[in-house]
Symmetry: C2
Subunit: 131 residues, 2 copies
């Protein structure tokens, strides 16, 4: 399998980040990873609300998040460990992630009516997800 590509912090692009987070499924996945700081296994997130996301779509969602620079994924045995690259993105685009996640959290049960059933996470954890 091709080694995973992660953009350098200075290569982060606003348009890629917005595009990645413009999909409610991906935003929900990312919000989960932010909340947890690190999530093991893509399949841990294979449902948004009550809708099951097929493996291939999930794999693609993770790829989009990864290539936008929002998460860092590393193989750990048979599964994937995904970290939010919160600190790096925040350093380059201050306030961007917080306001986007807040916007989704504050928008009511609309986000594919599933991502708002769990408690909103307005302020992300500041655990050092950088590196």
């Amino acid at each position: 399998m091709r080694p995973l590509f992660h953009p350098a912090p200075e290569d982060l692009q606003t348009s890629a980040i917005l595009h990645a987070l413009a999909d409610p499924n991906r935003a929900a996945i990312f919000a989960n990873i932010m909340r947890a700081g690190c999530v093991e296994a893509c399949s841990a997130l294979s449902a948004v609300g009550d809708r099951v996301i097929p493996k291939s779509s999930l794999s693609n969602h993770f790829k989009v998040l990864r290539e936008a620079g929002l998460i860092r994924s590393e193989r750990h045995g048979v599964e994937m460990r995904n970290h939010a690259r919160w600190a790096e993105v925040e350093a380059r685009f201050p306030g961007l992630l917080v306001s986007i996640l807040n916007a989704y959290a504050g928008e009511g049960p609309r986000m594919e009516d599933g991502a708002a059933e769990r408690p909103p996470a307005p302020i992300p954890p500041d655990n050092g997800s950088s590196v």
Copy 2:
């Protein structure tokens, strides 16, 4: 021509806003409207950098921005007057627009290498663009 559709403030959706602004051309158009508060004529914005955007594409970009609730368009004679709906969006999603525009402005001459040739507008004008 069909009367123009504008979503109500409570119908604004984060995903639609992010999708609208994920396109660098549209983001540049929107940044211009924000900077000016109000822009007359779509064709006033028909070039981003040195690239000319065809009329039909422009019309579509304006439609996407309008239907995301980012701008309000009204016919004024033969041309269109476009206002940023800054106050309404800000009221519902505080900080969102500012951090997105800041992200683009701070990203260097990359945004289709044209939108950064003019001075960045980190903080939007607070002229009452609501209504």
